[in-house]
């Protein structure tokens, strides 16, 4: 959707709704934020990813990006009916902008036990903070910023909740999600045989959150998962996820060609959240990505990119870019990762200031990303973030081959 058109529609609607609401009976509520982000990149001009993306472009190794990201949300709720809208736009300049409909769904809650929703909805399955191997219906997560809002899924769902007066099973819920086939025919029609179904059963059992989930896809493999989360002590939480994708295709490069191997693919995650006496929070997660490339497979993938560059024709470059975007676009390209985040809210009694440090460490090739985030909220509805990152790894390593080797981001966020 055209960004300008969207805002022409939404902003007057916003203004009218504010005027129309009598005080005390306000049911339609609007809010949002404007993120202004300035980024400075030190590009790695020898990396194959950089050379593909900026092929035949003579540019400085120091690039900047200045972008605006307005979010506008609306919510209407009564006891049994609801409507929710979440929108997002990205504006780089008059010649480059985009609009995303993150969520737009209606809900009907006939009782406290039952809720029915239809539209575009974000789901967040799984207990992991940075990775969710059992997040079958989740948007792709960016482990560098796991709390960033993302676009939901066109779907309909029904959820049933039941509580129990028991020391063992305290609550149970069942969520059924139906996902219609993609509108691939004339961009409007899907085929009924491509309707997918996902189910999640949740239990609070002996003070432990447990989920069992499955995704029954028509074009994608059948997936099964489970997760749990529990406080071992008053300051220590543990969580885990496991997923199995049956007869799934795993893509690798062999003999200079894209090839797929079909097998049951297992991925899992183990994690902790720990709070110490100084109020420092540590999140640590180990992630096994069953779809990822092994240490031995990565050099073949890298050679594939370099070979395309060596051919050097526009068609070859485009083909490599397309293959890369389609099959190797994951932010976790390889198999074993360690994620650690340490945050210290309000150190030295400096109120509303939270520094944190996180690292994504690739256990297969020993490359890593190291980031420091300094977050300051000096006043209500204002937030500043200073966020330098360093990617460390030699040639032929995942983080060493990223387009940028250092980056610094500066955000200002205004909420309304």
């Amino acid at each position: 959707m055209n960004l300008t058109f969207a805002w022409l529609v939404l902003v007057p609607a916003f203004a009218m709704s504010q005027e129309a609401q009598p005080e005390g009976e306000k049911k339609l509520e609007w809010n949002g934020n404007l993120d202004v982000k300035y980024s400075l990149f030190h590009m790695s001009q020898s990396s194959p990813n950089y050379r593909l993306q900026f092929y035949n472009k003579d540019v400085s190794p120091y690039l900047t990006q200045y972008r605006l990201e307005p979010y506008l949300n609306a919510e209407y709720k009564t006891q049994d009916l609801g409507f929710q809208l979440r929108t997002h736009a990205t504006y780089y300049g008059d010649r480059e902008s985009s609009f995303d409909l993150f969520e737009a769904f209606g809900s009907y809650n006939p009782s406290f036990h039952l809720a029915i929703q239809a539209g575009k909805r974000v789901y967040s399955w799984g207990k992991g903070y940075a990775f969710n191997p059992a997040g079958f219906v989740n948007p792709a997560k960016d482990p560098e910023n796991p709390e960033l809002a993302q676009a939901g899924l066109l779907s309909a769902n029904a959820e049933y909740i039941k509580s129990f007066s028991s020391d063992a099973l305290q609550s149970f819920s069942a969520l059924l999600v139906v996902i219609p086939g993609n509108p691939t025919i004339n961009n409007r029609f899907g085929e009924s045989k491509y309707t997918d179904v996902a189910v999640k059963l949740s239990f609070l059992l002996w003070d432990t959150d447990i989920d069992l989930m499955t995704y029954q896809g028509s074009l994608t493999p059948k997936e099964y998962g489970l997760d749990f989360s529990r406080n071992l002590q008053d300051n220590l939480e543990v969580h885990a996820e496991l997923s199995v994708a049956q007869k799934a295709h795993r893509f690798v490069i062999a003999n200079g060609m894209l090839q797929s191997e079909q097998s049951d693919v297992v991925s899992y995650l183990l994690g902790i959240r720990y709070l110490n006496e100084w109020n420092t929070t540590v999140i640590a997660e180990y992630y096994r990505n069953g779809f990822g490339l092994s240490k031995e497979e990565y050099p073949a993938y890298r050679d594939f990119l370099l070979n395309g560059l060596a051919v050097g024709t526009p068609a070859a470059i485009q083909q490599i870019l397309t293959t890369n975007q389609t099959y190797f676009k994951s932010s976790t390209l390889m198999q074993d990762y360690l994620y650690v985040k340490i945050s210290q809210p309000e150190p030295f009694d400096w109120l509303y200031f939270t520094p944190s440090l996180f690292s994504i460490y690739n256990l297969n090739d020993k490359s890593f990303l190291l980031s420091v985030s300094l977050n300051y909220k000096p006043a209500t509805n204002v937030e500043f973030i200073f966020w330098p990152s360093l990617l460390v790894g030699g040639g032929a390593t995942e983080f060493g081959d990223r387009q940028a080797q250092q980056k610094v981001e500066l955000w200002m966020r205004i909420f309304f």
């Binding site: 934020n33 974000v122 809002a149 609070l204 008053d234 009694d349 109120l351």
Partner: protein
């Protein structure tokens, strides 16, 4: 001689038991006079800084029984829609952008500033603390409260309770090492209806944050019952439906 000693010990033990029982009953009365067993409430939290600037939060809170409480952020916009659920010692945080509930430790701070969870997600004093009476004046009774477990933010409290109406007037919170962490003054009694007359403002100061002041202002408290399903992880995203 031995018999006299035994009788003496028994009398002292029985008296101590009675005093403990009195203190426990008094603490229960204090809880009953602060909040109904199940309720909904609107609370504003105001953090005031030495330079005069303020940060305000508005919460919608629902509570049932002695161990279920849920809280929804209504303001400011940057926090709107976030919610917290506490079931006994289990606690979760709901992030609306992600439609995700995260299990957090019960000691985790959910807003910055002088407040912590214990101030805004507190169940009942008598659930979290055991009490002893340590002093009395003509108008007030002084209680010493000791945390029953480590999930409570403050290890010890000193509580001043009015003798006549059994309403709390002041609380001092101490760390395990005996350091004063903060002082809470309960003031400005207000009739919230349904026979509930209680302090409407709780003012917090802390020697750790000199010049800072925090106020919890109760705007409304209404008796209301809820089904248990409201206090489940999956209902957190729907808390606003109850308003």
């Amino acid at each position: 001689m031995n018999s006299i000693l035994k009788i003496g010990i028994l009398v002292v033990a029985a008296t101590a038991g009675l005093v403990a029982q009195d203190a426990t009953a008094l603490l229960k009365d204090v809880d009953d006079n602060l909040m109904p067993g199940s309720y909904e409430a609107y609370r504003r939290i105001i953090n005031e800084e030495p330079n005069g600037s303020k940060k305000e939060y508005l919460f919608f809170t629902v509570k049932k029984g002695r161990d279920k409480i849920a809280l929804l952020y209504l303001a400011p916009s940057s926090e709107k829609g976030r919610a917290t659920l506490r079931l006994g010692e289990n606690m979760w945080l709901y992030i609306p952008n992600l439609n995700k509930s995260i299990r957090v430790t019960s000691l985790q701070s959910i807003i910055g500033g002088v407040f912590n969870n214990a101030d805004i997600m507190q169940l009942e004093y008598s659930v979290e603390y055991s009490a002893t009476i340590t002093g009395e004046t003509e108008k007030e009774i002084l209680l010493d409260l000791k945390a029953k477990n480590k999930t409570v933010a403050y290890d010890k409290l000193k509580m001043w309770v009015t003798r006549e109406r059994k309403v709390v007037r002041k609380v001092e919170a101490y760390s395990a090492s005996g350091m004063l962490i903060k002082t809470l003054d309960f003031r400005d009694d207000k009739d919230f209806g349904g026979g509930l007359v209680r302090p409407s403002i709780i003012e917090t100061t802390s020697p750790l944050y000199k010049g800072y002041r925090s106020l919890i202002v109760y705007q409304s408290i209404k008796r209301r019952t809820f089904p248990d399903e409201v206090f489940t992880l999956n209902y957190l995203g729907r808390l606003g439906d109850l308003r």
